[in-house]
């Protein structure tokens, strides 16, 4: 009897492992959790980029209203995919979109890119050494954070925002935040 159990054990262990593998196939090992969910936005103060008339972008700017913080770069291919939708958002929605220009080697690259493709941002900060990006726990571009009026991070989008994501997730969340908290 004891003997039998011993012989069946390897099969049991394997089947359990196979179960894990099946679940594993549905997961993405590189997708990191949002460490900032429900926490205040990290402190940062970024200088402005060339060719814009704002004073840069700092965490204090996020304590005024519900807003989006978009990490982008002129080198980022997926940002080009996302960009038209951001322009559309600027036109149709009143949610301010702030930008963090991440890791530009050439200080003219970011401004040139915005001039060519359009500028959907209210404020833009220059982050050449990834300080702000690291503070946000960013691992690639584009990434976008939804921040409420108190400066608390509510949601993180990894990858380009598209219409479906906006309609299904972001817009409802923004509406809820605006109703619930002080505007």
């Amino acid at each position: 009897m004891n003997n039998r159990v011993l012989f069946v054990m390897p099969l049991v262990v394997f089947l359990v492992l196979a179960g894990y593998f099946a679940v594993g196939l549905t997961l993405d090992p590189k997708k990191l959790p949002n460490m900032l969910a429900g926490k205040p936005v990290p402190d940062f103060a970024l200088k402005p980029i060339k060719g814009r008339d704002d004073k840069g972008f700092a965490s204090a700017d996020l304590k005024k209203s519900v807003s989006l913080v978009n990490i982008f770069g002129s080198w980022c291919v997926a940002c080009q995919v996302e960009h038209p939708f951001l322009m559309e958002l600027k036109a149709t929605s009143d949610v301010p979109i702030h930008g963090i220009d991440w890791r530009e080697v050439d200080p003219d690259a970011g401004p040139a890119w915005l001039k060519k493709k359009g500028d959907p941002y209210a404020l833009v900060g220059d982050d050449p050494r990834s300080r702000a990006a690291i503070a946000f726990g960013v691992t690639g571009a584009p990434e976008t954070f939804l921040v409420d009026a108190e400066g608390v991070v509510r949601y993180k989008v990894v990858g380009p925002i598209n219409k479906a994501l906006w309609d299904d997730t972001l817009k409802p969340l923004i509406d809820k935040l605006r109703q619930g908290g002080a505007s």
Binding site: P10, F14, L25, L27, K30
Partner: protein, 660 residues
């Protein structure tokens, strides 16, 4: 046309494998000699068809046929010939073709050279081998066809990862596959034994050569991979506990345990159930490795591009093959009765201890490799398991075994005394202490582990030589007698001694390269001097140039020691034309004491100054030599007449012919 021919050959091979998997098996059950005899021709034909398919794929690569999708993704007209060839297997689909090539090669080899196998056993073994092949053919034909066409063809291909354009790496996959695909043969033997319900000494003797051959190739393959990483990646590292490295290492650990365990089955008619289970586990780990690399469940520097459909298919394959074999084991395993008895302190006991340590080590590596996935699947978040974990866990597990390895060969079968063995090892022990002491004085501030590893290496190395000396009665008999004994020793004994000695040498290398490397990073102008590890490096300047498909910067360093010039090193930094990807070719000078290793980086300013990284890596070459000695020992064992089960038959026939 060639691609279609290759594709068709693959389909035919599938049908051949289906025939091979069913007819001989049923024939063996029913005792039908004609059906049993189907195994041999189908195995050979299946192999030839795969060779044809492989030749076709090679042909489309060599002719840069860009109507074939695989060639577009992985080749380019500018690539040198050798890398056009190695590009055949440097991608997911092509490497699968290599998989089945080797799978069918082993099958054909057993069909042709397994003359002394009982026909029913041989039929079952080849059937099981074919079943595995069927799974892989289906996988390829349904999800990963290397012969897929594209119209219209592009002007040129997308090149190959420049890191892979290297001679060492060209041979690494074939060697590795010969290894862990080769363990499929031990697996097939194990399944055949379970179906028959019997394991005897003859079975163990038949399994051994195939397992040993696979083991030799896998050892060489892993060594080749480490050697490549060392000279190519630019900072002297050689093992990263990356999931894919672990995927090749775990079968090696289990396979080594299997080799030792099979000896006990052969000599003492015991540990049968365990050995059969080990054979299943070893190949299962190989299959698991295939899953991990190609499914995307783990992040790794080695991973092929992933696709969910492929992941699901391989998982299904795993469940069928591994689940099926383990279920068979659960059902039929108890039928394998053992008769031999032995004391814990005996040669069998020592081999069993080896098994305990090797399987614990393999399990620990498996746990570490799979843990991020396991935790994530349970919703426990994301965690990384890197080298600090593996080093902390693996090394302490291995230390008792390495210490025991010097003593084990001295022990007798069934029941033995450990004290006489320890007494004979006094010299080895003393030498180990001295070596440890010397290492301590030289590297007082270095990691303790380096000193321990070196001492263990001396203990093991001298222990293996002591055992050999004892066996030939060195200093106990006239020298001539001892020498004649030495030459009359069976090759398998030589194999064991060389295997253990080789490991000792390799461990010494790991101690040096792992614990005592010296590094210096700086910006150098031409004429600048830097002292590293007792040597002086002078930067002679750099110049630009062009290679066949890349542009380069080449830096020269004059290295001297104590005033005498030792060598002039040339280091390159290349940028490949198609991918714009940079690679470093370090300038390396190898000596028995260690490697001088120079890397040239980016330019700094305009005065001809460059970032340079200079290293002295002690004892690195001992790792490669040690591994070669191990492989040589294994190969030597393979040539032992006792392992070539066909040999007695031939000698008898020769003797009969002589008398006639």
């Amino acid at each position: 046309m060639t691609a279609e021919l290759g594709h068709f050959a693959l389909i035919l091979a599938l049908f051949m494998a289906i025939a091979q998997a069913t007819i001989p098996l049923i024939g063996a059950e029913r005792g039908n000699a004609a059906w049993i005899a189907v195994a041999r021709p189908t195995a050979i034909l299946q192999f030839l068809l795969v060779v044809l398919a492989f030749a076709c794929l090679t042909h489309v690569y060599l002719t840069s046929d860009f109507t074939v999708l695989n060639v577009i993704k992985n080749s380019h007209t500018d690539k040198p010939l050798l890398y056009k060839i190695s590009g055949v297997w440097g991608n997911h689909e092509g490497s699968l073709l290599l998989w089945v090539l080797i799978l069918s090669l082993f099958g054909a080899a057993v069909a042709v050279f397994g003359g002394n196998l009982p026909p029913a056993l041989k039929a079952r073994v080849l059937s099981v081998q074919a079943m595995i092949a069927v799974g892989f053919y289906l996988f390829m034909l349904l999800t990963s066809n290397p012969f897929e066409r594209v119209f219209p063809p592009p002007m040129n291909g997308q090149g190959l990862n420049p890191l892979l354009q290297d001679p060492g790496l060209a041979f690494h996959p074939p060697m590795l596959y010969l290894g862990y695909v080769g363990f499929s043969m031990a697996f097939s033997f194990a399944i055949a034994a379970l179906i028959e319900g019997r394991v005897d000494a003859a079975w163990a003797r038949w399994v051994r050569p195939w397992t040993l051959a696979a083991w030799c190739f896998l050892t060489a393959g892993i060594g080749l991979g480490s050697w490549w990483a060392y000279y190519e990646l630019g900072w002297g590292g050689w093992w990263y506990w990356d999931p894919v490295e672990n995927a090749s290492f775990m079968p090696w650990l289990a396979g080594t345990a299997l080799l030792h365990s099979a000896t006990v089955v052969e000599k003492r008619d015991t540990l049968k159930g365990w050995t059969v289970l080990l054979a299943i586990i070893t190949f299962s780990l190989s299959l698991l490795g295939t899953f991990l690399v190609r499914s995307g469940v783990l992040t790794s520097v080695h991973a092929f591009a992933t696709d969910p459909a492929r992941g699901v298919f391989i998982l299904a394959l795993l469940i069928v093959v591994i689940g099926g074999s383990l279920a068979l084991f659960a059902w039929r395993g108890p039928k394998l009765t053992s008769t031999g008895l032995f004391q814990p302190v005996s040669r069998e006991g020592a081999l069993l201890f080896n098994n305990l340590v090797m399987t614990t080590a393999a399990a620990a590596v498996l746990l570490g490799t799979l843990y991020p996935l396991l935790l994530d699947a349970l919703g426990g978040g994301k965690v990384s398991v890197g080298p600090p974990f593996f080093n902390a866990v693996f090394i302490p597990i291995m230390i008792p075994m390495i210490a025991a390895m010097a003593v084990g060969p001295f022990l007798n079968w069934k029941r033995s005394d450990v004290l006489p063995a320890l007494l004979r090892l006094r010299l080895a022990f003393g030498a180990a202490l001295i070596a440890g002491g010397l290492a301590y004085t030289a590297y007082m501030d270095g990691p303790v582990l380096g000193i321990i590893a070196l001492a263990l290496a001396v203990w093991l190395g001298l222990g293996a030589l002591t055992e050999l000396a004892t066996r030939v009665r060195l200093f106990q008999e006239p020298l001539a007698d001892s020498l004649s004994r030495l030459f009359r020793l069976p090759r398998a004994s030589w194999g064991m001694t060389l295997g253990h000695f080789g490991l000792a040498v390799a461990i010494a290398g790991m101690a040096g390269a792992g614990a005592w490397t010296v590094e210096s990073i700086q910006v150098m102008k031409p004429g600048d001097k830097v002292a590293v590890g007792g040597y002086e490096f002078v930067f002679d300047g750099a110049e630009k140039g062009k290679g066949p498909n890349y542009s380069l910067v080449s830096g020269r360093f004059s290295v001297s020691r104590g005033g005498d010039t030792v060598v002039v090193l040339e280091a390159e930094k290349r940028v490949y034309n198609v991918s714009q990807q940079p690679t470093t070719e370090a300038g390396i000078h190898t000596t028995w004491r260690g490697d001088l290793y120079a890397v040239i980086g980016d330019p700094e300013g305009n005065a001809g100054a460059y970032v340079t990284r200079l290293y002295f890596n002690p004892l690195v070459v001992w790792m490669w030599v040690g591994i070669l000695v191990m492989v040589f020992g294994g190969a030597l064992s393979l040539t032992d007449r006792r392992h070539r089960v066909g040999a007695p038959h031939r000698r008898r026939a020769a003797a009969a012919a002589a008398e006639a």
